[in-house]
């Protein structure tokens, strides 16, 4: 078959298509976005009837994927690390209901927080849900794991998690494709109770999940992704998972002298680990993310020999690994290299010149500064989070999708006089609508600014679920039409914007202000394509 040069994300997408995918469900989020985009680009002629429209958030994505699986077809659901939190409810429960059509759940973690609020490790979620986890070390493995992952999911009867990290998602390498399989036919579970998680049924289903654990372990023991390579030097045994394995081998181009157990499929293969524990003096664990393997190996009382990893400082606990960090842990001296010259200054990202958020912040700052300490601005997740940086220094919080509105309300409940929320259109429909309903129901004296650029800009301009519907949504939720204001964020409208924001901040009830101007990146792309 042909060899393609693919990003890790693209390899996952291609594998899903080749494995007979019927639908992908996702909300954009770095570093997972390109999976869905790749599938969308192959489906422009719509002949294959593969679902690939963006979902409103990760929870709706996971539920729709489970519905597709209910109907017997193969579904892929993809998200960034923090997206897993949003869909944790359906994800955890999908392991109890089980699946019909194969379901592969891609969690893209972001160690070093290149574009995320935390570096949470999704393997803990996979473990929590008690489903098999796959962790590729290369783009080819990512392809193979997804290609076979649907079968594994169908054999296990539960979703299978594929855990990737930024450096795999956004790195390109040659990938060999395999034969294209047809989609599953529409078919349903023979068990009419399967998806009925009433307690009486759920207890039975949960028992079945517990009983299946030994099967998942057996599959992991047999898996070619858990590969034991013996080495002559038994002073150490190395357990290395995912791309951390690559950083190990980069330091040993002629082969590692220690026995190495490469982990690519969980639950952890006990027999292979036991061999290492028996034969080696101590263990070292090299893994990207939290000390997930290390914790399990150490347990509470240990396994009778030393396990080095992130908990004893052998490797740093925070941030992503790289060849230098791993080399240093194994005692290699770093080569002497020139220091970073003093003339090199930080160049943080910033809002694009001409961006509507800039005009919104200019106006907001003017209105807010009049109130001094009586006013705080709660931010949210998107390009406009950059409003924290100079020259704006406009926001005081950024926590999770939708939190701006509810945090503003909570602070207002506590007595903050002028609480302002700034949220983008896509984030608003993702998780802000329920927050707004809370504010409506108490007519909370807060000012919500929905800075609408009619796209999901930060991740590259994907469709935004609420485009053209934002006012209707607000009114439908019960926002007072008198205090729903739409503005055009342009320099020439600065005074009008300041005045509107000032008036609505002074109003002692809920107001929503929508500054609306299309993202300049999206607009210029549209012009080019014309």
């Amino acid at each position: 078959m042909d060899k393609l040069l693919l990003l890790g994300d693209e390899a996952i997408a291609q594998a899903a298509l080749d494995a007979g995918l019927s639908g992908v469900y996702a909300y954009p989020g770095t570093p997972s976005t390109e999976i869905t985009e790749y599938i969308q680009n192959t489906q422009k002629d719509k002949t294959e009837n593969i679902h690939c429209r963006w979902s409103t958030n990760e929870k709706t994505a996971m539920e729709a994927a489970l519905g597709m699986s209910f109907a017997g077809k193969r579904a892929l659901v993809c998200m960034k690390c923090v997206g897993v939190n949003v869909c944790a409810d359906p994800f955890i429960n999908s392991a109890i209901t089980g699946i019909v059509g194969g379901l592969v759940f891609v969690a893209a973690d972001d160690p070093s927080m290149h574009s995320s609020q935390d570096e949470q490790d999704s393997r803990f979620y996979g473990n929590f849900a008690m489903v098999p986890i796959l962790e590729p070390s290369s783009q080819q493995e990512a392809y193979d794991m997804v290609y076979n992952g649907f079968e594994l999911s169908e054999r296990c009867g539960v979703p299978v998690m594929l855990r990737i990290v930024t450096r795999l998602a956004h790195s390109r390498a040659g990938v060999v494709r395999r034969e294209r399989k047809p989609q599953n036919e529409l078919h349903y579970s023979k068990d009419p109770k399967q998806f009925m998680l009433l307690p009486a049924v759920a207890r039975l289903k949960y028992k079945k999940l517990l009983e299946s654990q030994k099967d998942y372990l057996e599959y992991a023991e047999e898996s070619a992704y858990n590969h034991y390579t013996d080495g002559p030097d038994k002073s150490k045994g190395v357990v290395a998972s995912g791309i951390a394995f690559n950083y190990l081998m980069e330091n040993y181009p002629e082969g590692c002298p220690f026995p190495v157990l490469k982990i690519g499929q969980y639950p952890l293969p006990e027999t292979k680990l036991r061999k290492m524990v028996t034969e080696c003096k101590e263990l070292v664990v090299v893994e990207e993310g939290y000390p997930f393997i290390e914790d399990q190996l150490k347990g509470l009382l240990g396994i009778g020999l030393t396990v080095h990893g992130k908990k004893d400082g052998w490797l740093p606990r925070a941030g992503e690994l790289n060849p230098d960090i791993v080399g240093k842990a194994f005692g290699f001296e770093l080569p002497e290299t020139p220091a970073l010259p003093e003339v090199v200054k930080n160049r943080p990202p910033s809002l694009c010149v001409g961006c509507g958020h800039r005009d919104m912040y200019d106006a907001l700052n003017a209105a807010v500064h009049e109130k001094g300490e009586d006013s705080k601005v709660f931010g949210d997740i998107g390009c406009y989070t950059l409003g924290y940086l100079p020259p704006y220094k406009a926001i005081h919080s950024c926590v999770d999708m939708g939190a701006s509105i509810t945090m503003a309300k909570g602070a207002s409940d506590a007595g903050l006089k002028y609480a302002v929320a700034v949220i983008g259109d896509s984030t608003f429909t993702h998780s802000g609508m329920t927050s707004l309903l809370d504010a409506v129901n108490e007519n909370a004296p807060i000012t919500v600014i929905i800075s609408d650029n009619e796209t999901t800009a930060m991740t590259g301009g994907q469709d935004s679920a609420g485009t053209g519907k934002i006012e209707a949504i607000c009114l439908g939720l019960g926002v007072d039409p008198e205090h729903l204001k739409v503005l055009v964020p342009l320099k020439k409208n600065h005074d009008e914007m300041v005045e509107t924001i000032r008036l609505e901040m002074n109003y002692r009830g809920l107001s929503v202000i929508i500054p609306r101007r299309e993202c300049i990146q999206t607009a210029s792309r549209k012009n080019k394509n014309k």
Binding site: R172, R347, S350
Partner: protein, 195 residues
């Protein structure tokens, strides 16, 4: 052969278009390749880099270790210096000379020049003015690539073929303009290396 390249610049300058040509040429020659890119938040006018590794043997890490890069190819002079700790002793910096000044504390040009002067192996060129002379500012990134061709570890003709394949659907005129840009960049590098 094995070549480790760091491509650098400012988000939006288009370092990935340069990487695409090298990648195309490498894959066509059946070489192994890994190329780590930066997507997401940093693309908004921040510093961006890509680690591009080519080898005739399998490659493990997506990231290049410190002191191991054979080439830093940069569209911006300060961004070239940012990756100096990764450059090997024999490695080369090939960089555009025009600053992209979007920060308040951007260094004085004389200080920047001093830091660049301290690098032993370098080619510094003004890609925009070379591209303008050729008649199209749009080929400036290919001028940049041309200046790097002596250090990539592949024959010049293979890079030329990569350009033909990537630009062929845009017509013969575009292909020729890009080939001219590639040659113009290479000429600058050749004259530097004679000194």
């Amino acid at each position: 052969m094995k070549t480790d390249i760091i491509l650098s610049g400012v988000g939006g300058q288009g370092i990935l278009s340069i990487a695409a040509v090298i990648g195309e040429a490498a894959v066509h020659r059946n070489l192994y390749m890994k190329q780590a890119e930066v997507h997401g938040m940093s693309q908004r006018g921040g510093d961006v880099q890509s680690n591009l590794r080519i080898s005739d043997k399998p490659i493990h890490s997506d990231l290049i270790a410190k002191g191991k890069a054979d080439l830093i190819l940069s569209l911006e002079p300060m961004e070239a210096l940012r990756y100096l700790p990764y450059l090997s002793k024999e490695g080369w910096i090939v960089t555009n000379s025009t600053p992209f000044n979007n920060i308040p504390d951007y260094p004085e040009s004389s200080d920047l020049q001093k830091a660049l002067d301290a690098v032993p192996n370098k080619v510094i060129l003004d890609i925009d003015s070379i591209a303008k002379e050729l008649g199209s500012i749009r080929v400036s990134n290919i001028v940049m690539l041309g200046a790097a061709t002596p250090f990539i570890g592949m024959d010049y003709e293979e890079i030329e073929k990569g350009i033909r394949r990537i630009f062929s659907r845009k017509g013969e005129d575009i292909v020729n303009m890009n080939l001219k840009a590639l040659a113009a960049g290479k000429a600058v590098a050749d004259s530097h290396m004679k000194h």
